[in-house]
Symmetry: C2
Subunit: 377 residues, 2 copies
């Protein structure tokens, strides 16, 4: 990683945790924090998450964004604010690398394409969180074992991707590389629809309790509490997420309503076979979900891909790897000439490497793969 300094903008749960995890991984590494709330800046400095903190105005006046191409800015604000920052960083001529942590990616990726002549952008989304919010909830372990999505595009600079990948990996996370639009559709279903469903269950139960004039919610056992815990998340944050991803979320909710209505029909008809088959299928899928990422083994593979040294290539190769279920442990880029390079990916012993090879060959690449010996990487 060629990054020499990190500036986290937005010291909330995620931004504070990014700063704290950076300090945990690399104690001497310079980390700056920017937040319009002085108390959050103070808290982050007191807890050693950052070395220096400032308001946005102060940071800009002090030339924090006039630095070297090896500065990394992490935008850890709501999506709308991140879009505004992408414009602002373009306007002040920031020349480093920018990444963000937004829960939806289409809009941010588009804003970066519009304003990012000077800086290089790689969109990101850590699949980690908490029902708590604010810097007081930040913890250096938030990303340990969590997936962290990066959304490279046709314009993504190879070295910037490598640096953000290395940075995110140092936080304890596992990178998945996905197209921004596919990301937004996917998180609607695995994150945003579930959040709304949790809130809907709470809403339904409290409405029924009001109707019955009884304290129905006292009857809620652990299952209800586990299911609805995420509904206590910040309404401000989630309003933004719901509206940013409105089309995908609305489609997902409609899908959920259909699934529920079908099952309701089977229940009302007392169709035991249909009820059982549906519950059994869901139980099978749920049981197959891993509790947390653990490496299948300590064996690693090395994938070498000769490429044209141009933007976009790293996105094609890394999203192909993620699609095949292969986890990228490390990326190196050997720039061989003006327009030729070799991408070296170190992969864990997961996923379908043969499918990845076929996929890359079908796209005109000539990849090579080999097993690494123990200790070699």
């Amino acid at each position: 990683m060629s990054v020499v300094r990190v500036t986290v903008i937005g010291l909330g749960l995620i931004g504070g945790s990014v700063a704290a995890a950076t300090k945990r991984a690399m104690p001497g590494f310079p980390v700056r924090g920017v937040d319009s709330d002085g108390a959050s800046v103070h808290y982050a400095r007191e807890h050693g998450f950052i070395d220096e903190g400032a308001t946005p105005e102060r940071a800009e006046a002090d030339g924090w964004f006039a630095g070297s191409p090896d500065d990394l800015v992490v935008l850890a604000t709501p999506v709308h604010a991140a879009e505004a920052w992408l414009e602002r960083l373009g306007a002040v001529g920031f020349s480093g690398i920018v990444t963000d942590v937004g829960s939806t990616k289409r809009a941010v990726v588009a804003a970066a394409a519009l304003h990012g002549g000077g800086y290089r952008f790689v969109g990101g989304h850590p699949m980690a969180g908490s029902e708590r919010s604010g810097v007081q909830a930040a913890t250096p372990g938030l990303f340990d074992g969590a997936y962290y999505i990066l959304t490279p595009t046709d314009a993504t600079d190879m070295d910037a991707y490598r640096d953000v990948h290395a940075f995110v990996t140092s936080l304890g996370a596992r990178v998945i590389s996905v197209d921004a639009a596919a990301h937004d559709d996917a998180v609607a279903v695995v994150s945003h629809v579930p959040h709304v469903a949790a809130a809907a269950l709470v809403d339904l139960a409290s409405a029924r309790a009001r109707d019955a004039g009884a304290d129905l919610l006292r009857l809620a056992a652990g299952g209800f509490k586990d299911m609805t815990r995420i509904a206590s998340g910040s309404p401000e944050l989630w309003t933004g997420i719901c509206l940013d991803n409105a089309p995908a979320l609305a489609a997902g909710l409609e899908g959920l309503e259909k699934v529920l209505a079908e099952f309701r029909t089977a229940v009302a008809a007392r169709d035991e076979q249909a009820v059982h088959a549906w519950l059994a299928a869901a139980a099978d899928v749920r049981r197959a979900l891993p509790a947390q990422w653990v490496p299948a083994s300590t064996r690693l593979r090395e994938l070498l891909v000769p490429v044209n040294d141009r933007p976009g290539v790293v996105g094609v190769v890394t999203t192909a790897a993620s699609r095949a279920g292969c986890n990228i442990e490390d990326i190196e880029i050997d720039h061989q000439s003006e327009d030729r390079a070799v991408l070296r990916l170190v992969l864990t012993d997961e996923g379908d490497a043969a499918a990845l090879m076929r996929d890359l060959q079908g796209r005109g690449f000539s990849p090579e793969i080999r097993q690494l010996e123990s200790g070699e990487s």
Copy 2:
């Protein structure tokens, strides 16, 4: 408690845990276990949950149900099997106390009324569980701090209620007294609908993953996993629950679909104010849910209620206490004459005692209440 022996029928997660919790509370107290699966009986005996175990046929042949009126039978089977047992216990002339642990109560209460000439029945439902099942998942701590619902009726014997209340309290649980039909409507909303919603979220995500040809579920963060954990519960068990409570469940699912559709409309219209207001209301309700029961203080109150010594009275008084949010720590019955008794309830320092007093007075009782001094109870 005048009970001298407990026989648990059905050694699964709940039955095994009832037996184990009984042994934890009263190590020398005789506990028998009945299950048609020899391996479950063996496991329960090996782990000290029960002193003796038998198949249903063996237990009946050995006269286990010909015992004294101070025998307590706990039916810890699925609801349909419990109904069959209530008939069988009536046929063999069992004269003790029977309770059950079924997730729905209307059908079981009706079966007991039909067959319970010889025994005295109090319906029960522990609001505790696990996504695991079987006696191997049983643990003596399963009921610690959990609510445990009892459903007395007009026919419920006062002393039998007191004994079941004392028994359940000894398992570590907190009793709530509720009418059987109100119980079934309530658990549809706080337990059965949430289970179905969890399964529906898994179903939706796996269907979308198939459509996209991608491993979408890898993107599932902790929130999705927390929400859908209960969907991995036993499909056999949950098929029974869904069908037993079909009308209330179908009504609850329809309610959930409506809530989701309304929110979807607000999202599609990008109605920021409506989206925020709805999310904020759900977050407020969810945050107000206690993580687990904890006494508000160690202060206790004594409620004395002179009553006619007839069945049904204990149900009226205890459901009134639960409705007012008052937790009953202990019940004693002072039989003063053939037809007069005084119910003595020890209440924790929770709920609206004044509302309880008004409620009981409105029903023709003349209750007295006083604060107990520390150490007195």
